[in-house]
Point group: C2
Chain length 111, copies 2
């Protein structure tokens, strides 16, 4: 029915202020899990659950070098949300066009 | 910490294909709960839960006339998602600008 099945997980992942903050921070560039966790009053295992969820839905990728795990944002995933929103906007615009056409036809100025 | 607290509920509401389909349908104009439910193989009480969730987070509003409940989309709520995405894009763009500046300075063409 829908071409956006991955959106379930992406929207779910974004429905949390900690995960949105991580996405916001990673927008400025890759960061270690330690640096990402620092602003939050949260035990590391709890924080890691957020990181894993973001990684699972593909919003970030992580790589480990020695003891440091570095996170990088995957902007293409957020683009999927953008695409969905654009599709919605298209639906509304078509509707507005139809309403406009109706008004225009009513004024008998049809092309 | 974040100005987008309502986003928790909005993203949560959008993390479901039925609810996204309802939003998509309502983009074309208001519809009764019966019409909205028709395409889904789902008991009405289950479908109503989706409607209530969308109404709770403000993505739709509903009004009852006699026995018919009509649903209308609230596009301003989806605009909140759009605003958040735009804020993220701004962060990436600033980063890209810094990278560009770095490359430019490296070429000694600083203004």
């Amino acid at each position: 029915m829908e071409q956006y099945q991955q959106l379930d997980g992406i929207f779910q992942a974004l429905a949390d202020p900690t995960r949105r903050a991580v996405i916001g921070r990673l927008g400025s560039g890759p960061a270690s899990v330690g640096d990402l966790a620092a602003p939050f009053e949260m035990a590391l295992p709890s924080f890691m659950k957020h990181i894993h969820m973001l990684e699972e839905v593909g919003l970030i990728r992580t790589s480990k070098s020695g003891r440091v795990r570095t996170c990088t944002i995957e902007t293409t995933r957020l683009a999927a949300v953008d695409d969905w929103l654009k599709a919605q906007r298209l639906i509304w615009e078509r509707r507005t066009d139809r309403l406009e056409q109706f008004v225009t036809e009513d004024k008998d100025t049809r092309k």
